[in-house]
């Protein structure tokens, strides 16, 4: 199928879906509206809400807060993940000692930490950043750990035979290998940074997309909830596209077949 035809089909799905939603929410079928607008709103109301947010400019403040929280969560979580992943992989004893605790914390659904972070760090952005960090950290940590552990012994031996000392092995062999694993999980970890921010906002905040959705929900403004969800998904799509661009530049050396690790 050509790209144009594919795009047409994709848009077609959206149009059909929205049209059905609009019809079921406004037209009575057998004397009954299948999707009562009070609970399901209508696509036109949702669109009107989105347009209003952007035309009055109220949405920007929330978008920027959420974006900022996501970026901080991603940067801090990744940095910690890389450092600890490296450390554990190079010190098997440390890794063995901490293993049960790492597994324990990772098994914990991170949402339950949100109230604790709100208590400790207040209702500002840092409690959301902390939640995002706990999500991003483990993904990056596990990938970097794996990346350092699974450096091919032949490549390592080759480095040593070419005269590399420990520091040079770190820089030319371990580091690129670990980074490649980290970048291969970039989509997941960036996605989780956004999840952490939004869930945190939803559970208690004064601004952000999650806050917007939560506020709308509080006054039974279903159109507002859907509008918030719509803006959120477009936001994530744009970020994901940015990640793809970064990835294409950084991972040119990798064969296409091995993509999709992590």
């Amino acid at each position: 199928m050509s790209r144009l035809a594919l795009l047409a089909c994709q848009i077609g799905v959206a149009i059909v879906g929205l049209a059905l939603w609009q019809v079921f929410a406004t037209v009575e079928i057998f004397g009954k509206v299948l999707l009562p607008p009070f609970f399901f709103s209508t696509p036109l109301d949702v669109a009107a809400q989105v347009v209003k947010w952007f035309s009055t400019g109220t949405i920007w403040k929330h978008l920027i807060i959420t974006l900022w929280e996501s970026i901080l969560a991603f940067v801090i979580g990744s940095t910690l993940g890389v450092l600890v992943g490296f450390w554990f992989a190079r010190q098997p004893l440390i890794a063995a000692i901490f293993d049960p605790y790492v597994k324990m914390v990772n098994a914990l659904p991170r949402v339950v930490l949100a109230p604790i972070f709100a208590l400790w760090l207040g209702l500002g952005i840092w409690s959301k950043v902390a939640l995002g960090v706990t999500l991003v950290f483990f993904i990056v940590f596990f990938n970097v750990y794996q990346g350092v552990k699974e450096v091919s012994t032949t490549v390592l031996d080759n480095g040593r035979m070419l005269g590399m000392n420990d520091r040079q092995l770190m820089r030319h062999v371990y580091w690129p290998s670990a980074l490649s694993w980290m970048f291969s999980s970039l989509h997941t970890s960036v996605g989780f940074a956004v999840v952490g921010a939004v869930v945190g906002e939803y559970l208690g905040a004064a601004a952000g997309l999650g806050y917007l959705i939560q506020q709308a929900e509080g006054i039974f403004d279903v159109a507002g909830v859907f509008a918030g969800m719509f803006v959120l998904s477009v936001f994530v799509l744009i970020i994901d596209y940015g990640v793809t661009l970064v990835e294409r530049r950084l991972l040119v050396w990798r064969p296409v077949a091995s993509e999709g690790r992590g």
Partner: protein, 274 residues
């Protein structure tokens, strides 16, 4: 060559043993004695799993022998062998570096100026016939091309000794001949000492000055040593037509054949035991 000059590589009663998971000791190679003179091309041939690569790793200093000595130009070897370049059997290029950066790395890490290193790497890439492929990553190259990059990567450091572990093993027959000729051409320029491991007797005779045969493992020993009477420079594909080649091949094969059979028998025994 005078006898006073110390051999490039000398293994003296080198025994290599590994401790297995159940704390038994597996002796891979027993009391191997082998010398490679400076400028000499020696090939080791043996059945699969006989410990040929093990012996190479000992000469490289990647493995320490459990008993016996390794001398490199007369000096006792402890730690890595800094005089040796090692061409591995498996892919050993750095996948995140382009071909030219892979070749230049040996100079980069020794502190050579970057421009200088790049220029020399380009020259070496050209000498292995890949002058136009410098900015390709390893995964964009064919198996034969990757071996060429590997060869350039090792040779750019100008090692006095070249260790090669079935370097052309995974390549197809034509590419192997081309690589063999390329190797001989590069080697003839400055005649480094070469220790070349292969399971292919024909390849060994065509390339080497001396062919050494190992017995089937475990506790593999060196059981034969033949001088190759063929003149140089050689062409790998033409040298196979010569009478001396066939005579030597027949002679060595009569010894090697039994070991190969033993090797097979042992492998199948192990398979049954497991």
């Amino acid at each position: 060559m005078t006898t006073a000059e110390p051999a490039a590589i000398a293994l003296e009663d080198a025994t290599v043993a590994f401790r297995l998971a159940d704390s038994r000791v597996y002796t891979a190679v027993e009391k191997a004695n082998l010398t490679v003179a400076n400028g000499e091309f020696v090939a080791i041939v043996g059945p699969t799993g006989c410990g040929k690569s093990t012996l190479l790793n000992v000469a490289a200093g990647l493995l320490k022998p459990a008993a016996g000595h390794v001398r490199i130009f007369g000096e006792h070897l402890s730690g890595l062998n800094r005089d040796a370049g090692y061409l591995f059997q498996a892919d050993a290029l750095f996948p995140w570096k382009t071909a030219i950066d892979n070749v230049a790395i040996g100079l980069d890490i020794s502190g050579a100026p970057r421009e200088n290193a790049r220029a020399r790497a380009q020259a070496f890439l050209t000498s292995v016939g890949l002058g136009a492929f410098g900015n390709r990553y390893p995964h964009m190259l064919s198996g034969g091309q990757r071996k060429r990059v590997g060869l350039a990567q090792v040779l750019i450091r100008d090692p006095k000794i070249l260790l090669m572990d079935e370097p052309f093993g995974p390549l197809d027959a034509q590419t192997r001949q081309i690589m063999g000729n390329l190797l001989l051409e590069l080697w003839s320029a400055d005649r480094k000492a070469v220790l070349f491991v292969t399971h292919d007797l024909e390849e060994a005779i065509a390339l080497a000055d001396r062919v050494v045969i190992m017995s089937a493992g475990p506790s593999a020993r060196i059981i034969g040593d033949w001088k190759v009477p063929l003149k140089r420079p050689r062409d790998i594909s033409e040298v196979r037509m010569e009478k001396e080649f066939h005579e030597l091949h027949r002679e060595i094969w009569s010894v090697l054949k039994d070991e190969v059979m033993k090797g097979y028998a042992q492998t199948s025994q192990i398979a049954e035991a497991v």
